[in-house]
């Protein structure tokens, strides 16, 4: 091999350069969605997210159809189930694990509390690169007021 003294350091520098994001993120960045401007405000469900203020589990589980942890991970599964039951299986109500009965409806149940589309839904979905088409048809309350 010719020019070993130049080639090897060159390769090392290249590898270091290509992996800069890893080195930088090791110390500086946290994998969190941007923090919620409404933390602490009433009726604003900030709690589904791991924001810097931390989730408010108590306030959340009081109202929602399932606990925060489940909803954070599997809300899309639950919504899909609701859609199929309501439209195709002629069911109206959902019985939550703790025995409460809810009307299966995005707009009449979920969005009554989770009424801030941009801060509640979009913040996380943008961060995770998820493209929704729910709100092409379904109306969130804030949007309606515009």
């Amino acid at each position: 091999m010719y020019n070993v003294d130049k080639v090897i350091p060159g390769i090392l520098i290249l590898v270091l350069f290509l992996t800069t994001p890893i080195w930088l993120n090791l110390t500086n960045l946290k994998a969190l969605p941007p923090s919620d401007p409404h933390v602490g405000q009433a009726r604003m469900c900030t709690t589904c997210h791991v924001s810097e203020a931390g989730p408010d589990e108590a306030a959340m589980s009081e109202r929602c159809v399932a606990d925060t942890k489940y909803m954070r991970g599997y809300h899309m599964k639950l919504l899909d189930e609701w859609r199929d039951k309501k439209i195709r299986k002629m069911e109206v109500n959902y019985k939550s694990p703790d025995g409460k009965i809810y009307v299966m409806s995005l707009q009449r149940t979920c969005l009554k509390c989770h009424n801030d589309y941009h801060n509640f839904c979009d913040r996380c979905h943008q961060f995770t690169g998820v493209n929704l088409d729910c709100f092409n048809c379904h109306i969130s309350v804030k949007e309606e007021k515009k």
């Binding site: 439209i87 195709r88 002629m90 009449r108 048809c137 109306i139 309350v141």
Partner: protein, 257 residues
């Protein structure tokens, strides 16, 4: 490779014969006959929703508009000025256009000019359900022909299949043409087909459809399989028309003449 003229002809004729066999055989025993089967609900079902419209009671413009507006407002139906591409769930039209095959030469002027309320007939044998390639439109157990907007791909097959013009495609962004918004019900998106859904969401909760409520007794609604129901009585006591009965779709919207 060399081949005798005789062998070549043999192989070719086998091929042609095989093609014909598979073509005709496929249509006769295969998918074709399955598709042509009627889609009647099984007799074990106990509910079959039907509507009876008393056309004699609908007199003034107000009678029609109150019903149409009640439906369109509640379901966020856009009000599109373009008549060819408009979206409607329930609408008003003449006898001749609504019942083209029931028209005879010497029919009375009053009937000819009488406006009729038209909507999806929720056929017992719905052609739209048969053609939908994604099962976005389907028949529920209680006979309602449902439209699942989540699944609709906007192919418009159902519009071509429906003999009643009850289906409309969203050529325009529907949200921009809403007069008022009902936050309890979704809108539709660009590029899906929509139609009357017999207010299935209200029936499931024990309420009557919006149009029935707004008509103040001019539209009857009930279970066609229940002998004592109001609709059965009204149908038995009056002269009833359905739209294009000769097509065999078995409409469940009846008109008192």
């Amino acid at each position: 490779m060399s081949m005798k003229r005789r062998d070549f002809l043999k192989i070719t004729s086998y091929g042609i014969a095989g093609t014909f066999l598979s073509l005709t055989g496929g249509v006769i025993v295969g998918r074709g006959s399955e598709l042509l089967k009627k889609m009647d609900t099984s007799s074990s079902e106990k509910v079959k929703w039907a509507m009876v419209i008393n056309t004699r009671a609908f007199q003034t413009e107000e009678d029609f508009n109150s019903v149409i507006l009640a439906c369109h407002r509640a379901h966020n139906v856009p009000d599109i000025p373009d008549k060819i591409r408009e979206v409607k769930w329930i609408w008003k039209d003449t006898f001749v256009r609504g019942f083209p095959t029931a028209e005879t030469k010497y029919i009375g002027d009053e009937i000819k000019k009488r406006p009729f309320l038209l909507l999806c007939n929720h056929c017992d044998n719905p052609p739209c359900v048969r053609v939908c390639p994604v099962k976005a439109t389907f028949k529920r157990k209680d006979g309602i022909v449902m439209q699942d907007m989540h699944r609709c791909i906007g192919c418009k097959f159902c519009m071509a299949a429906c003999p009643y013009g009850a289906r409309n495609y969203n050529f325009y962004p529907p949200r921009e043409y809403l007069r008022s918004v009902n936050p309890e019900f979704p809108t539709r998106s660009l590029g899906v087909v929509e139609k009357c859904i017999f207010c299935y969401h209200r029936l499931d909760e024990g309420l009557v459809p919006y149009c029935v409520e707004a008509s103040k007794g001019k539209i009857f609604f009930g279970n066609l399989l229940d002998e004592n129901s109001e609709v059965r009585k009204v149908i038995a006591e009056n002269i009833i028309l359905v739209r294009k009965p000769e097509l065999g779709t078995n409409p469940k919207v009846f008109y008192i003449i």
